[in-house]
Symmetry: C2
Subunit: 328 residues, 2 copies
């Protein structure tokens, strides 16, 4: 890393990082930014979970997205990967590719990044700044007690399938940002439109929920590409099927202008919601629901190896599109 790059990182990313790096809060971080590597001492009684995700301008977010939203989303989607496995955030590194050295953009980006990082008490421990089209790669790490990480592969026939929140708002936010399907959203108030755009740009990683669910669930993941596409990963990793009941889907209020079939389609295939989808036994579901009533059961795991979406009168619901895919 060369002189002014290093200065760039130091000025925008190192100082707020230091304030987050109070030794009493993070005894696992021996040294953060400033050398060839960060030096860590992960607790011996925990497993370390790591994940890496890249967000590209024009692919993962519209090109006009604000620096604050880009920063929030880049960290939030990585936190969401930790949440999906029930981990507590530990630290992250940032590889930032920028078309130019725009001081104002960097200031807004770094403020937003550290705001979210501070909320989840996760320090930035290293980074790289390069020149090119805007792209943000974050590698995140978290801790779980040994053998307690939630995996995709643990679903069992008979499990309840449940969700942490409502679906569809981020997909509406994307339509609005891209000015698509305008006619559909004429009934939406400005407040609801704003809420949809916030859902797209400022997803809330379900860290606390993941750490609770970890004690109950057989399997889990986060919904980044749409419920059906992501639930499909649980099904294939666990070698099972699922019946999802449309009438139970927790629909975002931003979907209210759409016809029922369109609402279901958005909820089933819309990406970027970052809710958790998890499966657990009927008994555990009753216990979890009693303690945390805000989760929603939407169906159950079957032996069939098929993923079926069923209407209230038991009919199969057929979809046009099953989820977002960069390389289709």
């Amino acid at each position: 890393m060369s002189g002014s790059e290093f200065g760039l990182i130091q000025s925008y990313f190192s100082i707020p990082g230091q304030s987050l790096l109070a030794q009493q809060d993070h005894p696992d971080i021996i040294q953060g930014i400033g050398d060839d590597c960060a030096i860590l001492s992960p607790p011996a009684d925990q497993h370390l979970l790591v994940s890496i995700d890249t967000l590209i301008s024009g692919v993962h977010f519209p090109a006009q997205t604000s620096p604050q939203a880009v920063a929030h989303k880049a960290l939030a989607v990585n936190l969401s990967d930790l949440a999906a496995m029930g981990a507590k955030p530990a630290w992250f590194t940032l590889a930032l590719t920028l078309p130019d050295n725009n001081q104002n953009w960097l200031e807004l980006f770094s403020q937003s990044l550290f705001k979210l990082a501070s909320e989840y008490q996760i320090p930035l421990i290293g980074g790289d700044t390069t020149r090119g089209d805007l792209a943000v790669t974050i590698q995140i790490a978290g801790y779980v007690p040994p053998d307690s990480a939630l995996k995709r592969s643990g679903a069992q026939a008979g499990d309840i399938i449940a969700l942490t929140g409502a679906l569809g708002a981020a997909a509406i936010g994307l339509d609005i940002a891209l000015e698509q399907n305008r006619a559909h959203y004429q009934c939406l108030s400005q407040t609801r439109k704003k809420a949809a755009q916030l859902a797209l740009n400022y997803p809330c990683p379900r860290i606390r929920e993941g750490m609770i669910i970890r004690q109950y669930a057989h399997s889990a993941l986060d919904i980044s590409d749409g419920l059906l596409a992501d639930l499909g990963h649980i099904l294939s990793a666990s070698e099972v099927g699922a019946d999802v009941f449309l009438e139970y889907l927790p629909l975002s209020e931003t979907l209210a202008c759409l016809k029922p079939e369109q609402q279901w389609e958005k909820a089933l295939t819309g990406g970027d919601d970052y809710e958790l989808c998890f499966t657990l036994s009927e008994d555990k579901w009753q216990a979890l629901k009693h303690a945390y009533p805000h989760f929603t059961a939407i169906g159950h795991i079957t032996k069939s190896r098929k993923l079926r979406c069923l209407t209230a009168d038991g009919k199969l619901f057929e979809l046009q599109n099953r989820g977002y895919n960069h390389f289709d």
Copy 2:
């Protein structure tokens, strides 16, 4: 991560990874690719070192660089960050941005990546594939015994400054790749030209050397942006200066066509060599040199806070350019 992306990673990156992931060799890796996060159990008696580096097509390597060279270099520069601190490689994650789903490119890229990974016994434990201009981000992790990582900040006045290998070949390789300064290289044989291009595209991370030097040195880093630019980081982190003697610089044979001043300039400012630069006491230098005679002393650390390059007759050598910088 969506369906076919996942398939893409599975087909090119997961299978060779699995063969690397023999449990007896990597008891610290509980689960690699295939879930939201990888699950690790770092040894309790080691510190964990992490670093992240991005390589962008047209910035860090010429756009026509082969997929094999891109893969090698992306992993090698990250391994070099571990080498700089004396760490043993542990694992890495890959965030790959590709303009299209080019099967042939991916096959060549992944083969080369796993060839180098296998050489250093470092498994790939997670990844992300996105669409965009070609960029490769690798996050790497390694282990060192507690409190033994080599830092930039440990140099002391009186220390010998030493290098692991020769300088300048990669800079000549870049000139050749970009067809710059052609007239300078007319005396170079085709074999030497080839060697210069190999130095640029296939740097050798000094992992073994770093683990040896760790037992002797006060400070170290790897030379990615040119000796002077990188040595400058040691000086500023350690609050010291340095005298570098041009006559002692280990010059690559590919520099032979150039005038002496041009050779020194290339050796001092050419990037991409990925040799280690380290400082150690005179006593330790004598011991290290006795055991490993292939390192070269090039100068010493001073109290002055100045970095001076001196000719054999004690004159100051002034440079046009002090190193590579993405944001200058």
